[in-house]
């Protein structure tokens, strides 16, 4: 509920490498999410994740928790956390989440008992995975290094037109 009332990292920010728009067709929940990546000593870092959601408390809080969990991590670490969250959501209330890995997301353990709401909790994570995959492709295409910044936004506009 804290993340719902006071969402972290909300709003859409520039620059970004990819933007996606995901919907839950069953209920109309929507999320628009942007990812910016940085290359640091050969590793891809999640530099920023920004988002706008239109949805229930669970999807909004999930987006907020997601940003806390992945920003500043390497893409590999962040993906591992995404996998841990997915496993928790698929646990049907039987999960025993590791608080060191999932932090505030452990509060979502109860959601996994409600199959319909699992989709709400996963919506931002699915959007983030998609955006990260697109961002990796964009960054790979414009490497090497920081000059990639200058092309940001333009690429994203192209990405957006395809979704």
């Amino acid at each position: 509920m804290d993340h719902y009332r006071n969402p972290h990292h909300g709003g859409l920010r520039e620059p970004y490498d990819a933007e996606v728009h995901h919907v839950n067709p069953a209920c109309g929940d929507e999320v628009r999410l942007r990812v910016r990546l940085d290359r640091d000593i050969g590793k891809m870092i999640v530099a920023d994740v920004s988002y706008e959601t239109q949805g229930c408390s669970i999807s909004q809080a999930s987006a907020s928790v997601l940003t806390d969990l992945v920003i500043g991590k390497t893409v590999d670490e962040a993906m591992a956390r995404g996998d841990a969250f997915l496993a928790l959501m698929q646990s049907r209330g039987e999960g025993d989440p590791d608080e060191d890995v999932l932090e505030d997301a452990v509060a979502f353990a109860g959601v996994s008992k409600y199959p319909v709401r699992v989709k709400c909790a996963l919506l931002p994570w699915m959007a983030w995975k998609d955006a990260t995959a697109r961002a990796l492709a964009v960054v790979a295409a414009v490497l090497p290094g920081r000059e990639a910044d200058q092309t940001r936004g333009n690429h994203s506009a192209l990405e957006r037109s395809t979704i």
Partner: protein
């Protein structure tokens, strides 16, 4: 609160529905306000299904043994029952389908490959409305994409009615078919069918009526309505899932081509060509949902036994009460007519900025089943600029006390989510 004028003897009705005795969410009584989604089934229908499988199960029309004769008689008997229920001029006009979606798709698809004058072609127009269920939108989008016809629609007024000021401008000579819902599954609006049928027929257009939210709730008279096709589903009217009905005017169904090809829809078959069975079998290919059709017949008998006018009066009383009580909840906004006249049994609303999913979850914890989301009619949400609604829908087994429980549950949802504002 039990003495509203027009109510059925609802305690007696409720005894017919075994599921209403089931406790939910830690021993709470089930308050089921989701009948527009699917209705519950009375004991009479459940028993009919069990008896069919235990005593009469066989394939129909093909088997030459006793069970086959019995199953065929029960299946065709169900068709007679449905035909009487609809006041259909002929039983041969009653086609069993899988559901309303299949019935609507059947008509939309036939019109893409029919012979002239019914075939949709470039330059033709199809008119739907902004309050259609996706099952009466998407089939027409597909049909228009395939044929080059153009899709247009009647818009909505702010109070959830069809905007009839546009009727004569939108339904004009190039319009070949008008497909619309009788009763909106979201707004509850009962549409002025005779006005629209008159205009459509003036310009030579066919009219297809989606009666999925009408057949369970109102006396349905296809002869009086004047439409050319009427589609509805069984599971929303106390029948089983997997069975729906398409009624169509005989001369039209005879002129139109077959839909699915297969067993039982043929007269003769050679390796190169076939001739087709007469109505209604021309449109019933393959083994049909036999037990489900028989179950639908039992549901129609059950509803007719209570009387559709009595059911409509019961729901009218409940919806009148619900509209009045819901409007006492702060920040609750109803989408659709605010009075019960010309209104069906579904009431959709938003509650401040609390997302309907959250409203639904709080209600579910209290044992109250409603539907949340866009109810397969997303253009309505777009029209009113909202992401989703919560919908309470009533049927013959609902009580004024359940309306009170809903209102109390909504107050609880407001309280729970209030500190965000």
């Amino acid at each position: 609160m039990s003495a509203l004028p027009g109510l059925l003897d609802v305690e007696r009705v409720r005894k017919d529905f075994p599921i209403l005795e089931r406790p939910v969410r830690g021993g709470k009584p089930l308050i089921y306000l989701d009948s527009a989604n699917t209705s519950h089934k009375p004991r009479q229908v459940i028993d009919t299904l069990v008896e069919f499988y235990e005593r009469h199960n066989a394939n129909i029309h093909r088997a030459t043994h006793l069970l086959g004769e019995e199953a065929t008689a029960l299946y065709e008997g169900a068709r007679n029952t449905v035909a009487r229920f609809l006041n259909a001029p002929s039983r041969d006009e009653v086609i069993f389908t899988r559901n309303a979606t299949e019935a609507l798709n059947l008509v939309a698809q036939l019109l893409t490959w029919a012979d002239p004058p019914h075939r949709l072609e470039t330059g033709d127009q199809v008119v739907i409305t902004e309050m259609e269920h996706h099952s009466n939108i998407v089939p027409w989008q597909l049909a228009c994409q395939r044929t080059g016809a153009t899709l247009t629609w009647l818009g909505l007024t702010d109070d959830g009615q069809l905007d009839l000021s546009e009727l004569d401008r939108i339904i004009t000579e190039p319009v070949k078919v008008v497909a619309l819902t009788y009763v909106s599954n979201v707004l509850g609006t009962i549409n002025p069918i005779s006005t629209i049928v008159r205009r459509a027929h003036e310009v030579g257009a066919l009219v297809l009526l989606d009666a999925s939210q009408a057949a369970p709730h109102l006396p349905l008279d296809v002869a009086a309505l004047g439409a050319d096709f009427v589609a509805f589903t069984g599971h929303k009217m106390c029948g089983p899932t997997g069975i729906g009905v398409l009624w169509g005017r005989k001369e039209l169904l005879e002129a139109l081509p077959p839909f699915l090809g297969g067993g039982e829809m043929i007269e003769t078959v050679t390796m190169t060509t076939s001739t087709y069975a007469p109505l209604p079998y021309k449109y019933e290919a393959g083994t049909m949902p036999i037990a489900q059709a028989v179950g639908l017949g039992a549901a129609v008998d059950y509803l007719s036994g209570i009387g559709m006018a009595n059911i409509a009066a019961h729901e009218h009383a409940l919806v009148t009460y619900a509209l009045e009580r819901l409007q006492t909840v702060p920040e609750l906004r109803i989408y659709g007519p605010l009075t019960a006249s010309n209104r069906g049994a579904a009431v959709s609303f938003t509650l401040g900025d609390i997302h309907p999913h959250d409203v639904g979850q709080v209600l579910d914890e209290l044992g109250i089943a409603v539907r949340v989301g866009h109810h397969c009619a997303r253009p309505i949400c777009l029209r009113y600029g909202i992401p989703a609604t919560t919908r309470a829908s009533f049927y013959l087994y609902n009580t004024p006390g359940e309306v009170d429980a809903l209102v109390a549950g909504l107050e609880q949802a407001r309280h729970f989510f209030s500190s965000r504002r």
